[in-house]
């Protein structure tokens, strides 16, 4: 019995890893670009790599190395990164019901691993009704797959340095990765409304500081999706 439980848990873990793999194609260039940018902003190799494991949130890392370059005061850097990462509170709220009753150690570990890319892949599985007793192992799998990829691609960027040619437009994989994550979750009219309204709002409010347009767009999209759902 114990053996069966364990193999069922690992099965779910590897499902999470497999579901994350295609996304890594888009994440790898971003990790490399981050490594290059961090070095050119004056961070040491060690600092550049450490940031990827201490913060482990791509968009705020990109913003931070830009701010380092501009000589921004520490407090402003911290506040900016905090606001950029606020969307993770929404992820936390939305994934929480599926992690109910887990031990504190599990919660701490899965929270550390709760990035856009791992969250998106695992929440899609949960929302599609896959909710066995080992569902948290799926998030562990997708999270560790993404974590490993982010650390390795950061290291590759640091190692290759300026040999990653900027002319290739590899930063476009950011948009492609999020297209690959967002579009498959549009499966009915309320979710389509949520996407369209969130997209339009993010453009209309893009002048807001600290990428607050993301929060504005999320709230607008969720509200309209909910409204449409109750029609």
């Amino acid at each position: 019995m114990v053996r069966n439980d364990r193999s069922a848990a690992w099965k779910e873990f590897w499902k999470g890893v497999r579901d994350e793999l295609p996304i890594l194609l888009g994440v790898t260039p971003l990790g490399m670009i981050y490594g290059v940018l961090a070095l050119s902003a004056g961070l040491s190799s060690f600092q550049s790599q450490a940031m990827s494991s201490i913060i482990f949130a791509g968009s705020s890392q990109f913003m931070l190395v830009q701010l380092v370059n501009l000589g921004t005061p520490a407090l402003i850097m911290i506040a900016t990164a905090f606001v950029i990462n606020l969307r993770h509170a929404l992820y936390s709220l939305s994934v929480a019901p599926y992690l109910q009753g887990l031990s504190p150690l599990w919660k701490v570990l899965l929270s550390y691993l709760l990035t856009d890319e791992a969250y998106a892949v695992s929440i899609m599985r949960y929302q599609n009704g896959e909710q066995g007793p080992y569902k948290h192992w799926h998030l562990l799998g997708s999270g560790i797959a993404l974590w490993s990829c982010w650390q390795l691609s950061t290291a590759a960027g640091i190692f290759l340095g300026a040999q990653v040619p900027p002319g290739w437009g590899l930063d476009f994989t950011l948009a492609l990765t999020f297209i690959a994550l967002a579009i498959p979750s549009i499966n009915d009219s309320p979710s389509l409304f949520a996407a369209i309204v969130a997209g339009i709002t993010s453009i209309l409010t893009h002048g807001l500081p600290y990428k607050l347009n993301l929060i504005a767009a999320a709230i607008a999209g969720i509200t309209v999706g909910y409204w449409r759902d109750t029609q």
């Binding site: 295609p22 194609l25 888009g26 600092q47 450490a50 201490i54 913060i55 482990f56 931070l64 380092v68 520490a74 850097m77 911290i78 990164a81 905090f82 990462n85 606020l86 993770h88 509170a89 929404l90 992820y91 936390s92 709220l93 939305s94 929480a96 009753g101 929270s111 709760l114 856009d116 969250y119 998106a120 929440i123 899609m124 929302q127 437009g169 476009f172 994989t173 948009a175 492609l176 990765t177 999020f178 297209i179 690959a180 967002a182 579009i183 498959p184 979750s185 549009i186 979710s191 949520a194 997209g199 339009i200 709002t201 993010s202 453009i203 993301l214 767009a217 999209g221 969720i222 999706g225």
Partner: protein
């Protein structure tokens, strides 16, 4: 540059606590029903809000023209994602289209 370590640890801690917040609260506080019903739109709303400015804005300005390669390749990628639901094909064809158009013009 030594304050950089301070920034890193502060941001790391704040990001971690943001991610932990509701996961930890869940056993003591359940969100009201009206909220949980809206939660299924979190992924689609946030993820779309991230990629739309990436393909539509160039230098902070809305660029709807045919010379916006990111918009053209992005629209192809959206179509592929919609048809195939495959992340691999979406990213590969999207990037391929981007390179092809860049090379053509």
């Amino acid at each position: 540059m030594s304050s950089l370590w301070l920034v890193m640890f502060a941001v790391g801690l704040l990001t971690f606590l943001t991610r932990l917040s509701f996961i930890l609260l869940q056993d003591k506080w359940q969100p009201p029903h009206i909220l949980t019903r809206g939660l299924r739109f979190v992924p689609v709303a946030v993820l779309t809000a991230i990629f739309i400015p990436e393909i539509l804005l160039a230098e902070g300005q809305i660029d709807f023209s045919f010379s916006n390669v990111r918009l053209l390749a992005g629209l192809i990628a959206i179509l592929v994602a919609f048809k195939t639901k495959s992340a691999l094909w979406t990213i590969a064809i999207g990037m391929g289209t981007f390179w092809l158009i860049t090379w053509l013009i």
